[in-house]
């Protein structure tokens, strides 16, 4: 069933509540990125992707490789709300014996395509899935989410080169451009700009959007689908800690601190 942007925003608001509850219960995790990713994950699972929570191994499902695994509280909340597992499980996040590991692990939880957390290696895996599925004439699409600071990693740029070489137009990456990383702003830690020009120079199609605007997220995916000779990077301008006034834009909220309310 198609969802309107307003309906998606409502779901994302619930997801943000879930994220804060999970982090407060775990006293651990990554609030800033989880909150900046909340709208993108919501749009992917409630509107964009072809998937079935009752059949997580369905072979024709669209794949999502979450390279920025530290944002998994948002992913877990979305998966639970989409019906992959009971919402009650969310409170076990990162606790002993929980399938909701501190960073996501394949096989521990339905709906997790790849183990992730160590940065920079998700896009290459997504490119591998995209190339392998194209060899078999499969028609699903491969999505990948990456943080902006992940662009510090060489492995990511190796994959950017590779995806362009093989013209993986079935591959779309969302860049969570929230401008912060553990130690401070991305532009003082290791400057990434001009990021759009970098992707374009590597022969990628680039779409820039407000990563908190549901209509823009959906329109960007439509543009990526229309592209037939290049992979697409959707640079989603987001606000770290979006939705929680005292966290917004602050790198100190990259990781959990006391007093998450």
């Amino acid at each position: 069933m198609r969802k309107t942007p307003e309906e998606l925003e409502k779901i994302a608001a619930t997801i943000r509540q879930d994220i804060l509850n999970m982090l407060a219960a775990a006293k651990s995790g990554h609030p800033a990125g989880s909150l900046s990713m909340a709208d993108i994950f919501t749009a992917l699972y409630f509107e964009v992707m072809n998937h079935d929570p009752k059949k997580p191994d369905w072979k024709d499902r669209d794949r999502l490789v979450v390279s920025n695994g530290h944002t998994c509280p948002a992913l877990y909340a979305v998966l639970a709300r989409a019906g992959y597992f009971p919402v009650s499980k969310l409170k076990t996040y990162s606790k002993l014996n929980s399938p909701l590991q501190g960073h996501p692990e394949r096989f521990r939880l339905p709906g997790i395509e790849t183990t992730s957390g160590p940065l920079g290696c998700g896009l290459a895996q997504a490119a591998g899935i995209a190339l392998a599925s194209r060899m078999d004439n499969a028609h699903f699409r491969v999505y990948c989410t990456v943080s902006d600071a992940e662009h510090d990693e060489g492995n990511h740029w190796e994959a950017v080169l590779f995806a362009a070489k093989y013209k993986l137009s079935n591959l779309t990456v969302f860049v969570d451009r929230n401008n912060i990383q553990i130690e401070g702003p991305t532009e003082t830690t290791l400057p990434l700009e001009p990021l759009r020009a970098k992707y374009e120079a590597f022969n990628w199609k680039v779409v820039e959007i407000d990563g908190h605007n549901m209509a823009e997220i959906i329109a960007a995916v439509a543009k990526a689908r229309a592209e037939d000779s290049r992979p697409t990077a959707i640079i989603a301008h987001t606000v770290a800690g979006k939705g929680v006034a005292y966290m917004e834009g602050k790198s100190e909220w990259h990781t959990y601190r006391k007093n998450v309310k």
Binding site: E105, R106, G117, A132
Partner: protein, 331 residues
């Protein structure tokens, strides 16, 4: 002396024994494997020729993927392809893969538990004149410490062929270590080979020590056994090609039979095949062990033969280690 069941080459100690490279066995077997299994894909990091996947690339260009000099991409792209359902073989020099990309192998292959076959060429001192930067003396340690990972070090060309075709459908992350130089082909098409099962090559009546070797040093161990026999020292020789999962029963039985062990490998002693043997024996049946391998140093330039001599990896060195371990046993 020779175990008939091992069906070793009749020319085993003859001067005209055939010399072939382990990497050639891999490259040739890979073509056969590709013919039988359409899921097999091959990726390389700008080392098609020297890792011998050129044969596969010519035959199956649509299943051959060149990633460039990018070893991290090599294994992570392969992880994705395996995640979808392919069986990727990824090749580079062992010093770069698994040397440079170990964390990616851990996270995206071992932890993801996808059946990527990491093939490390020029294992040991084989890169010779290129020097220590290109010599892989740590790769067994890196790979055997990973949960889910199978680790195989074929002893010759023929065994490399069997190892390659055996690991295709095991559904597991696997490391295959290949040597560069041409070495004697002492096993035959009929020699038994099974992943996880060590093979007894020399089975004497009254063995005083066991030599457990892997890779090209298995042949050096055989030469050592022959020389030792001449001076009245009988040995048991085990080809321990599967470093993980290791054939514990065979290792323990050998320790019980001879009460003295020598391990031999072209690798650092720290963390290598011999370390794994000692882990098994110290917990189950402790006996004196001597380790033939690299003693906590880097390699250097030279021919592989010169380097083997300099770093103490020859038949003579193995024979000396056997004498030492017997002395320790009897002291």
């Amino acid at each position: 002396m020779l175990n008939k069941e091992a069906k070793l080459s009749k020319k085993i100690f003859s001067r005209d024994i055939v010399l072939r490279a382990i990497r050639d066995g891999f490259g040739e077997a890979l073509v056969e494997v590709g013919e039988k299994n359409e899921k097999v894909v091959v990726l390389t990091a700008d080392l098609k020729e020297s890792t011998r996947v050129n044969l596969f690339a010519e035959k199956f260009p649509e299943r051959y993927i060149q990633v460039g000099v990018a070893e991290q991409a090599l294994v992570t792209i392969a992880s994705g392809m395996a995640n979808y359902g392919k069986i990727p073989f990824v090749t580079s020099y062992a010093v770069f893969s698994p040397g440079r990309n170990w964390e990616q192998i851990k996270t995206t292959i071992a932890l993801n538990n996808v059946p990527v076959k990491v093939v490390g060429a020029h294992g040991g001192l084989g890169a010779g004149p290129y020097g220590s930067t290109h010599q892989a003396l740590e790769d067994i340690a890196l790979m055997r410490s990973l949960p889910n990972m199978i680790v195989v070090c074929p002893a010759d060309y023929e065994e490399a062929k069997k190892a390659t075709s055996n690991v295709v459908s095991n559904g597991r992350p696997t490391y295959l270590r290949l040597a560069r130089e041409e070495t004697p082909v002492f096993t035959t098409v009929k020699s038994p080979f099974k992943i996880g099962r060590a093979e007894v090559l020399v089975n004497s009546k009254n063995p005083q020590a066991t030599i457990i070797a892997c890779g090209p040093l298995v042949y050096e161990a055989l030469l050592a056994a022959r020389e030792l026999e001449k001076i009245g020292i009988e040995t048991l020789i085990i080809n321990n090609h599967t470093v993980k999962p290791m054939d514990e029963r065979m290792i323990i039985r050998a320790a019980k039979t001879t009460a003295a062990i020598v391990t031999a490998e072209e690798h650092q002693i720290a963390g290598g095949m011999g370390s794994a043997v000692s882990e098994i024996l110290s917990q189950n049946f402790p006996v004196p062990i001597e380790f033939v391998g690299i003693h906590d140093s880097f390699g250097e330039s030279g021919t592989p033969e010169e380097l083997k001599k300099k770093f103490g990896l020859t038949a003579k060195d193995i024979a000396e280690a056997v004498k030492r371990v017997i002395l320790r046993k009897n002291s």
